[in-house]
Structures are given as structure tokens and as C-alpha cells.
């Protein structure tokens, strides 16, 4: 870092920044230094404190301690508007555009230039918008176009344009490519390159390491709310960066629990569902962890929803056989979206845990809260959930502990078939390891686990067999020993046999690599 700082004065310096939410120390003394005309990657797992740090930078949160300086002057924004007037702009993961307004109206939203009686002066606002849009070089984005008519990628660029009109000196991009196609990503990178050449400092948040390698100059790694390391891209090996992120060596992450494959419990023949799901045939055994790889949007989640009965079957059949055949409810689904679907955040731990199966709590017609607490305590202990009490609101727990409760719900319901959609998304490394161990233990108890994940090392680390879904068609399942990351990637992007699409370009292949290198 020293060599970069030696001849250049810093654009932004954050030193010893601390921030606590109640008892949770989200940031415990973070340092971050960014130079002018630099793309600085901020790397870390979910929950490492990246978003909190950026909220402090953008004035959405006030730091408890520490200092910030911008171009050498003390900088302490009172709110996001204040930050923006200092030239610090954020582009959030969730886009903050009003879809019913035009590009121009969105760009000037909140700072409109008005004439008499508040009449918007579009003419005066237009040149700045056009200048900004010219820098983006995107054919679809015109000032008068409604945002709802633009693609996701184009919307992202409108956000960038908004920041440019505000004369941003520091631009924060929070996982900007997570929902972009490769083409839009390339376009965005070209824009970032141009901004860098213009002297804008870009803080680029991502956990796709290849992407970081491609675009960033330097990086800072956060772990558990602290700076775990920083350096110059290209000088530090990827493996070393990953170890900084997870705080342990890679082979400790996937604990192996021996388990034995039993009888078939679920037999699916040509299952077709809504949207993307075209054909899925497979046999799932008790005591087996069956992995499903594939690109986001390949139809994997749809398959789980059909199996769970949340989406209609539009063709083919699936039958639960053996011990799953007689069960009242054979499956339990762990949702990929914990906040929106998986949990009722303002209900208690106990209420969330038992909602899928209230029968054991019944005493006559009445639900026993005593039993609910007892059941909850038992699972909390078994899965080592960190919480204050069974009556605590589940929204107060960390992502990892929330996920354990969502898991416990399936275990409490006692279903023989567990459908797990991205089971470790948004979970810290410690909890990830515990969840992997739990999955192994469940297989050893002859449960059948059907696991969808976009994180290939995870599938290769815990599954017994893996099948790849490509454009709605589930490929043949193969023992994990026969699978390689490269092979799975190839299949996920091209399909196999008659489903094989035209050979993909090198860049599409790279894009997928980014997705799994979390």
C-alpha cells in the first residue's frame, strides 16, 4: 500500500471506524484507504461488515468511533444527501430508481431544477444528463425513456449516471454485477475504466474474486467487522485472499460425516413445471446428499417448488416411495430467500421453528407455549444457535443463526426428504461449517437431501452425487468422485448431449467462474 500512497495523496481515508447495533459489533475498527483514480475492491463474506462500512461512508449510519477524511479534509456526513454533496455516491445492490419516472427524472430526483410554481425545467436539466449518458455509451438509455422499459443492466448504468451528474469523487458500487448479463457486465466495466481514467475513485464491493482481479487495482478484505488484510491485486495470490476472507485454511471448511445410501425415496420422471423447468428425471435415495448445480435462472428453484407442492406440476410425475411414501408431508423446503420467504421475521424463534408442525404442541385444542419453548430449546442446543431465549424475535439473530432455525423447522417437522435451496447463502463461515456437518449427520440418519447451490466447491465438498441443470433440463446424476469443477461448469453453461447449446464464448465461461468463486 505504501508504494501507492508514496507519491499520491489519498482521496479517502477511513481509520479505526467502529459501529455497533445494540450488542452486535458490526464494525470493530476498520481502516480503508482509497486513492484518486483507483478502483478499490472491498472484499468479504456476507456479514463481514462491507455494507455497514459503506453506509457509514455514505452517511446512512453514523460511526461510533474512528475518523474519515476526504481529500485531506475531515469528512463526517450527517446523511446520504450530505455525503452526495461532498461527492460520495452509492449505487446499492437493490436499485433505487422509480420505475414509473423517466431516466432524466430519476437522475435529478430530489434535486430537480424548477421554474415558476415548481414547474420542472427539463431543458436546463437535460445537458448534464446527456453528458453523463454519453460517458456510459449505452444505446438504449435516453433521457425521456421510462426506467421500467430498461433492462436491469441499463438501470444499473442509470444509477451510475445519477452519480456522475452529482459530480461524484468517490463512487461505491455494491455487487453491481450480481444480476447483470455478461454483456452488461462488460459494458459496466468499460464505464468503470473510463471513470478511473477521469480520476474518480471507485470502491467496488464484490465477493466474485475473478471479477475483482479483472477490474480492481487494490483490495481490502473485511472479516467479522475488521480489516483482515489489504494489498495490490496481482501481487497477492487468490488462495491467500480467500483465506483472509474465511479466516481458516480451505480444507477445514468441509467436514466429512460418513453416511450410507439406502432405498429410493423419491422418483421423478420428466417433471415439467412453470417458467423454466422443462424436464427433470432422477431418483433420490435415503441417506444421500444429491446436489444440483447450474446457472442462476436454470430452473433449479422451480424444481424444488414443484417437489414441495408450491408450484403446479405441468407434466411428468414424481412419487415418494419407501418410507417417504407413507409420510403425511414428505418434504420440507429451505427457501433461498430467508428474509422474504423463509422466516417470519417479527415472530419469535419458537414460532418460526414450530410453524411447519404444530401437532406436538397441542394439548387438546390448545397450543402449549411451554412445550414450544421446550422443543425450541432442544433444537437451539442441538444446533448450537446463539440466541437469548426461545421467545426472542428471529429478526434479531445473525444470518447463520437464522438459517439454523430454518433448518431446525424441517428437522422438527421430521420430513424424510429435505429440499435445500442455497443452504449457506448469507451465512458466516463458522455457521457454514456447522451446516455442512449437520447435512452429513442428517444423511447418516438416512434422510434424503436434495441440495441446490450456485457455489460449486460446496456441492463438491458435501454431495454424494451431482446433477447439472441447464436451461430447465436436469442432466444425469454422477458420483461426486467423477465430477470436477471444470466439468460441472462446462455442463452448466453448455448442457450435455442433445441439449448442448452452441459452444459458449470464453467470457460466458468466465462469468460462471465468478459466480461460484464466492
Amino acid at each position: 500500500m505504501a508504494e501507492v500512497n508514496g507519491d499520491t495523496s489519498l482521496r479517502l481515508a477511513m481509520r479505526g471506524v467502529r459501529k455497533a447495533f445494540g450488542p452486535v459489533q458490526a464494525l470493530g475498527g476498520v481502516d480503508l484507504e482509497v486513492c484518486p483514480g483507483e478502483v478499490h475492491a472491498l472484499i468479504g463474506e456476507n456479514g463481514a461488515g462491507k455494507s455497514t462500512l459503506m453506509k457509514v461512508l455514505s452517511g446512512a449510519h453514523q460511526a461510533d468511533d474512528g475518523s474519515m477524511s476526504l481529500d485531506g479534509a475531515i469528512y463526517s456526513p450527517s446523511d446520504p444527501l450530505d455525503a452526495r454533496s461532498h461527492g460520495v455516491a452509492m449505487i446499492y445492490q437493490e436499485l433505487t430508481l422509480a420505475p414509473h419516472l423517466s431516466v432524466l427524472e430519476n437522475i435529478w430526483l430530489g434535486r430537480e431544477q424548477c421554474g415558476l410554481l415548481g414547474k420542472m425545467n427539463r431543458k436546463a436539466m437535460r445537458p448534464a444528463v446527456e453528458a453523463a449518458l454519453d460517458r456510459l455509451e449505452h444505446p438504449d438509455i435516453r433521457p425521456e425513456k421510462l426506467v421500467s422499459e430498461l433492462s436491469t443492466g441499463a438501470r444499473q448504468l442509470v444509477e451510475v449516471a445519477r452519480a456522475l451528474v452529482g459530480e461524484a469523487k468517490v463512487l461505491v458500487m455494491d455487487e453491481p454485477t450480481s444480476s447483470l448479463s455478461r454483456k452488461d457486465t462488460e459494458r459496466l466495466f468499460a464505464v468503470v475504466d473510463r471513470l478511473r481514467a477521469d480520476g474518480v475513485s471507485v470502491i467496488y464491493i464484490s465477493h466474485f474474486l475473478e471479477e475483482v482481479e479483472e477490474i480492481a487495482d487494490r483490495f481490502t478484505v473485511l472479516r467479522d467487522g475488521e480489516t483482515a488484510g489489504s494489498g495490490v491485486i496481482g501481487e497477492v495470490k487468490l488462495d491467500r485472499i480467500i483465506e483472509m476472507m474465511v479466516g481458516r485454511s480451505l480444507d477445514e471448511v468441509f467436514p466429512q460425516v460418513p453416511h450410507e445410501r439406502g432405498e429410493v425415496v423419491l422418483r421423478a420422471q420428466g417433471v415439467r413445471g412453470p417458467h423454466l423447468l422443462r424436464e427433470a428425471s432422477f431418483e433420490l435415495h435415503a441417506g444421500e446428499i444429491f446436489g444440483v448445480a447450474g446457472l442462476v435462472g436454470a430452473g433449479r428453484t422451480e424444481l424444488l417448488r414443484v417437489l414441495q407442492g408450491l408450484a403446479p406440476v405441468q407434466g411428468g410425475t414424481f412419487d415418494f416411495v419407501g418410507k417417504a411414501g407413507g409420510a403425511k408431508s414428505a418434504t420440507g423446503l429451505l427457501s433461498e430467500d430467508r428474509k422474504e420467504e423463509g422466516l417470519a421475521l417479527n415472530l419469535s424463534l419458537g414460532e418460526n421453528l414450530t410453524l411447519g408442525h404444530l401437532t406436538p404442541l397441542l394439548q387438546g385444542p390448545w397450543l402449549s407455549h411451554v412445550r414450544r419453548r421446550a422443543v425450541t430449546r432442544q433444537w437451539v442446543e442441538e444446533l448450537t444457535v446463539r440466541c437469548a431465549s426461545p421467545d426472542q424475535s428471529i429478526g434479531d439473530l445473525s444470518g447463520g443463526n437464522q438459517q439454523k432455525i430454518a433448518f431446525a423447522r424441517l428437522l422438527h417437522a421430521g420430513v424424510p426428504v429435505l429440499l435445500l435451496d442455497e443452504p449457506t447463502r448469507g451465512v458466516d463461515v463458522g455457521s457454514k461449517v456447522e451446516i455442512y456437518r449437520l447435512m452429513g449427520k442428517l444423511a447418516a440418519q438416512s434422510k434424503a437431501l436434495f441440495v441446490v447451490s450456485s457455489y460449486l466447491p460446496e456441492l463438491l465438498g458435501v454431495c454424494d452425487r451431482i446433477a447439472v441443470m441447464h436451461r430447465g433440463v436436469l442432466g444425469p446424476a454422477r458420483p461426486v468422485a467423477e465430477c470436477t469443477e471444470h466439468g460441472l461448469l462446462e455442463e452448466a453453461t453448455r448442457g450435455v448431449g442433445e441439449n448442448a447449446a452452441a459452444p459458449v464464448s470464453h467470457t460466458a465461461f468466465q462469468r460462471f467462474q465468478k459466480e461460484y468463486h464466492a
Partner: protein, 326 residues
């Protein structure tokens, strides 16, 4: 307060969720007791207020379920009117008061069933579905009654709403005890049964409930039927009190009922709500109205006060919620 939590945690845990409306009610009681020491807390006046609370209170029990499930029922005022008209028509035809009561309750349940089916099966949002029912039920009531009041003998339905000494139990009219009994039973239903747990789960996060295998549509139908039944019961009590079936009664009553539930701590976003709180909310409004009358405060002041209290109750709740989160 801290000593209380230390020495009697169980009682505090029971009171804490309804501490807001309870405190509000005590404040109102203290204020008017101070202004009007003799008349306000007299047995006679307490009887008057309690019997006035019966109708809103019954409605609030059903409405608590609806609001806790994240819904709303705007039709309850019209349903009260329609049920009172049906009960009066049955009484006029010479049938037994029990049959009148049944007819009123079934009328309410039917309205609730239609609400529930429109919401759960057709996917119309509760605000619109029940806004429609609000118009339909009111119209049907006027149609049945030929736009007049139906005069009919209410029999014992009159006596259970009566404040006269010979009909009282432990100093209070029978209908008051009926309301208390139902409030206790349905308070337990909301907190301690599968129906109640599912209601709160749907209100908190409908997708989660569906994921967990809760039959969301069916549960919603039951919730609106329940609210309709309580609307019907409130209509029967209205007929008992007035001894006429009046198709223009209870106009705007739905807002009083919703206000009682909201003052009682329920969240219109769903997932929260307590019957005890709702009943306290209903009592708070009734005592406020009564106290204003006794002290000669003009009606408009009373309306302003109620408006302020509703907003204040929710604002305080939000404040508490946010301070908890941060």
C-alpha cells in the same frame, strides 16, 4: 418498574404487550375522575359505559383476528346493520329470540364467508373486497327493511342489553359478561390454538406460512367468517338495545372498531394483535366519549381527541419498535 420485573416477571410478561392501551385507559379514567369525581366512576355510569362498549367490543374481537392476519374488514359496520335488520325481521315474524339471534349471526357469517372467498379465492385485496361488502350489506339491509326501521319485540335480547337491576349479573348487564367471556375465549384462541398461530404467521409473512404448509387461503376464509360472526353478534346486540332493526345504524362503526384494535396495539401490517388490547382500546374510546359528555365538552372536541389518540398510539408503538431495532 424494574423491581416489578424482578419480583413478578410472569405478571409483567402478561401485561407488557398491552401496557400501552392499559396506561392510556388509566389516564383517561384518572382525568375524568379528577374532573367529575362523583358521576364518572359511579356504578351507574360504569354500567352505561360497559353496555356502550359491547357492540364495538364484539366487533373488535373479530377485527383483531383480521388485522393480525394482515387484512382489514371495512364491512363490519354494514354487517352490524344488516344483521340487526335480519334479527328484527325474524322477530317481527313472531319467532323466538334465540332464532333471531341465530339468524343475525348466520347473516354475519355469510357476509364474512363471501369476504373470505373473494379475498382468498379471487385474490382481491381485503381493503377492496370488504369495501365492496360494505356497500352491498348496507344496500341489502335497506332493501330488506324497505328503507325503514323494523319495529319488533326483542324479548330476552332486550333484557340482556338492559341496565335494569333485575337483569344484571354482579352489577353488570348480561351482554357485558357475554362480551368478557368471548374476549377471554378468543384471546386464548388467538394465542393458544393452531388457528391463532396460523393467523399471526400469515400476518407476519404469508410466504413463510405457505412454505410451512399452512393452508393460507382456507385460514383466511375462516378468519373473515369469524369476523362476520362477531359482526352478526354485534348486530343482534344492536337490535336488543334499540328493539328496532335499523338499516342506517352503525354507519362508520367499522372505523371505531378498527381504531379500538389499533389503539390496542395491533399492527395493520399484520403479525401483531391482542384481544385484551383491543377491548381496552374499545373501553378507552367509550370512557373518553362518556367523560366528555359528562363534563359537557362538546362533541367535536371528543372527535379531535379520538383522532389524536389513534395516531399517538401508533406513533408511540412505532417509536418503541424502532428503538428496539436500533
Amino acid at each position: 418498574m424494574n423491581e416489578l420485573t424482578a419480583s413478578r416477571p410472569a405478571i409483567w410478561l402478561m401485561i407488557r404487550p398491552i401496557a400501552g392501551p392499559l396506561l392510556g385507559l388509566l389516564l383517561v379514567l384518572a382525568l375524568f375522575w379528577f374532573l367529575e369525581p362523583d358521576a364518572f366512576l359511579s356504578a351507574r355510569n360504569l354500567r352505561t359505559v360497559s353496555v356502550q362498549t359491547v357492540i364495538v367490543g364484539l366487533g373488535a374481537i373479530g377485527m383483531t383476528f383480521v388485522i393480525a392476519s394482515g387484512g382489514i374488514d371495512l364491512s363490519i359496520g354494514s354487517v352490524i346493520a344488516l344483521s340487526s335488520v335480519v334479527a328484527a325481521a325474524v322477530a317481527k315474524a313472531g319467532y323466538d329470540p334465540m332464532l333471531c339471534a341465530m339468524a343475525g349471526v348466520v347473516t354475519g357469517a355469510t357476509c364474512g364467508l363471501i369476504n373470505g372467498l373473494v379475498i382468498a379465492r379471487l385474490g382481491v385485496i381485503p381493503f377492496i373486497a370488504t369495501l365492496g361488502m360494505m356497500g352491498v350489506a348496507r344496500g341489502v339491509a335497506k332493501w330488506l327493511a324497505s328503507e325503514q326501521k323494523i319495529d319488533a319485540p326483542a324479548g330476552w335480547l332486550e333484557s340482556i342489553m338492559s341496565k335494569a337491576e333485575e337483569f344484571r349479573i354482579l352489577g353488570l348487564p348480561q351482554a357485558v359478561w357475554l362480551t368478557v367471556l368471548l374476549a377471554v375465549v378468543f384471546g386464548l384462541v388467538l394465542r393458544h390454538t393452531v388457528l391463532g398461530a396460523h393467523t399471526l404467521a400469515i400476518g407476519s409473512n404469508e410466504d413463510t406460512a405457505r412454505l410451512c404448509g399452512v393452508r393460507v387461503g382456507r385460514t383466511k376464509v375462516w378468519i373473515y367468517v369469524l369476523c362476520g360472526i362477531f359482526g352478526g353478534l354485534a348486530g343482534v346486540m344492536t337490535f336488543g338495545r334499540l328493539t328496532v332493526g335499523d338499516p342506517t345504524t352503525a354507519i362508520g362503526e367499522e372505523l371505531d372498531v378498527i381504531a379500538a384494535v389499533v389503539i390496542g396495539g395491533a399492527s395493520l401490517a399484520g403479525g401483531e394483535g391482542r384481544i385484551a388490547g383491543s377491548i381496552l382500546g374499545a373501553l378507552l374510546m367509550a370512557f373518553l366519549a362518556n367523560g366528555c359528555n359528562l363534563t359537557g365538552v362538546p362533541n367535536y372536541v371528543q372527535e379531535i381527541l379520538i383522532g389524536v389518540i389513534i395516531v399517538a398510539a401508533v406513533a408511540v408503538d412505532r417509536y418503541r419498535y424502532h428503538s428496539m431495532k436500533m
